[in-house]
Subunit: 254 residues, 2 copies
C-alpha cells in the first residue's frame, strides 16, 4: 500500500477538520480501507449458517456445543478468539490473555458532516488513537489497550479516547456519544497469532489480538493451505504449538 | 445548614481519595443530604397512581391525556417540567427553554470502595462538577449545562465531566462507565421557577431548572398554601404570569 509523507497543510486539504497543531507532517495511505466488524460478523453468520451456541469442547473432527449438540467433520478449525483458550479437548494449551479495549461510537450533527472522509490515526501523549468515519454518518473512536482485568467500560479509557481524538479533530467535542463498548482481544505471549495444525483433524486459528477482523481473509486463505496440506513455511513462526513443550517435543526434527 | 471551612488536610481526612492539589481549603456541609431522582420518581409514581400517558391540554379543573382520556378535579397543578410549555389550554404562555445536561453513572471496583462517603462538589477550570456516591456502590458524576440544542449525550460534555471529576478525585479513572445520559431541564428567562395560580382551578409549578428533585417537598408545601388560598407573599416573585403582559394586565393592583 503506497504511503506518502504529506505536510500538515496537505493533510488538512484532505481532512479540513484536522487540528491546526497536530504536527509538521503526517502520512497518507491512499489505498487504505476499512472493515465494519458488525457487518462482517453478521454476513459470516448468515453465509455460514453459524450456530450461536458456544463451543465447549473439541476433538479431532468433533465440536461439542454448550447445549450438548455435537458436530462431526473431517477437520475442525478452532477460531473462536479468546474463548479458544477455555475449550476442553485441545492437545496443547493455548496461552491466550484478554487485552481489553474501549471503543466509542459517535453521531455527527448534520452541520458537521462529513466530519472526516478518511480513517485518521494519530499518536497523542504516546497513545495511539484512531477515528473511523462510517457510511451511516457515525464515527468510531478507538481503541485503548488495557490489561487491568476490568471487563467493563473504563472511565479512564473513555476520557483518554475523547481527549486524544479531540487533539486530532477538535470538533469531536460537538459529536453525540451514541455508544461505549469494551471488548477483550486475544493476546498471546509474543502477541503473534496461534495458527496451524495441532493434530490430525484439528487446526487452530486465533490470537490475532487487535487485527482479527482485518486479517479474516488472509487467515481463511492460510487455513485453506493448511487443509490442503501445503501451508507456506513462513507461517511456521505462528505455530499454535510453539508455547507448549509437549507440542514442541512431538514436533518432527527439520 | 452549617458550612465549615476546612483545610485540604482536614478535607482529605473526610475523603482520603481527594486529589492532593485541589486547593488550599474547601467547605464541609455537615448536614448535606442527597436524593436519588430515580427512586423518588418511582415512589411518586407508585404512591400517586400516576398515569404514564403524557398530558396534552389543560383547562381549569381538567387534564386531557394524549390517549384521549380526560380527568376532572377542582384544581389542576401543572408540574410536568419542560413539557408544561407545550400544553394546550394554558391562559398564559410558559417561557421554558431546554438546558441540556450530561450525567454519568460509574461502578466502583471492590478495591476502591468506598470511593467517597460524601457528595463532593468542585469548580474545575471554571466548570462546576459533582460526584455523588450512592448506597449501591455506584457514583454519579454531573452535570454539564448546554443550551446547544443537542438532545443526545455530548462527547464534549462527557469529556469535561471525566476530566473535571478526575481533577478532584483521580481514582475516577479506575471506575467503570455504566451509563451516560442526557436530559433537558426547564429553564426560564430569569432561571427562577414559574410557581403560582394562573386562573381559578389552574396552578403552575415548573421551571425549577436543575433543582426540581431537591425542591419537591418545598414546592409541594407551597402548592398546598396556594390551594388553601393563602400563599406566603414571598412566592409572588415566582408568579407564573410574570413574563406575560396578558397575565400582568389582569393582575389586581396591590
Amino acid at each position: 500500500m503506497p504511503v506518502d509523507r504529506l505536510s500538515l497543510a496537505e493533510l488538512r486539504r484532505q481532512e479540513p477538520l484536522l487540528a491546526a497543531h497536530v504536527g509538521p507532517f503526517g502520512y497518507f495511505a491512499s489505498g487504505d480501507h476499512q472493515v465494519d466488524p458488525r457487518k462482517l460478523a453478521q454476513a459470516l453468520i448468515e453465509r455460514l449458517d453459524i450456530q450461536r451456541t458456544a463451543a465447549v469442547a473439541v476433538a479431532p473432527g468433533m465440536v461439542q456445543l454448550a447445549d450438548g449438540n455435537q458436530f462431526f467433520a473431517d477437520e475442525v478449525i478452532v477460531a473462536n478468539g479468546l474463548a479458544a483458550g477455555t475449550l476442553l479437548g485441545l492437545p496443547v494449551p493455548l496461552p491466550l490473555r484478554p487485552v481489553h479495549g474501549d471503543i466509542l461510537r459517535l453521531g455527527v450533527p448534520q452541520a458537521l458532516r462529513p466530519l472526516l472522509t478518511h480513517t485518521v490515526r494519530g499518536l497523542v501523549h504516546g497513545s495511539a488513537v484512531y477515528l473511523v468515519p462510517r457510511d451511516d454518518g457515525t464515527v468510531v473512536i478507538g481503541a485503548t489497550q488495557r490489561e487491568d482485568q476490568q471487563t467493563g467500560i473504563s472511565a479512564g479509557g473513555v476520557y483518554q479516547l475523547l481527549r486524544d481524538a479531540q487533539a486530532l479533530v477538535p470538533a469531536v467535542a460537538e459529536l453525540e456519544l451514541l455508544e461505549s463498548t469494551a471488548r477483550a482481544r486475544p493476546g498471546t505471549p509474543d502477541n503473534s497469532p496461534l495458527l496451524g495444525r495441532v493434530s490430525a483433524g484439528l487446526i487452530v486459528a486465533t490470537g490475532m489480538f487487535r487485527h482479527a477482523v482485518l486479517l479474516t481473509p488472509a487467515i481463511a486463505k492460510i487455513c485453506l493451505e493448511i487443509l490442503a496440506g501445503a501451508p507456506d513455511p513462513q507461517w511456521d513462526q505462528f505455530a499454535a504449538t510453539r508455547f507448549s513443550t509437549e507440542g514442541l517435543s512431538t514436533k518432527e526434527p527439520r
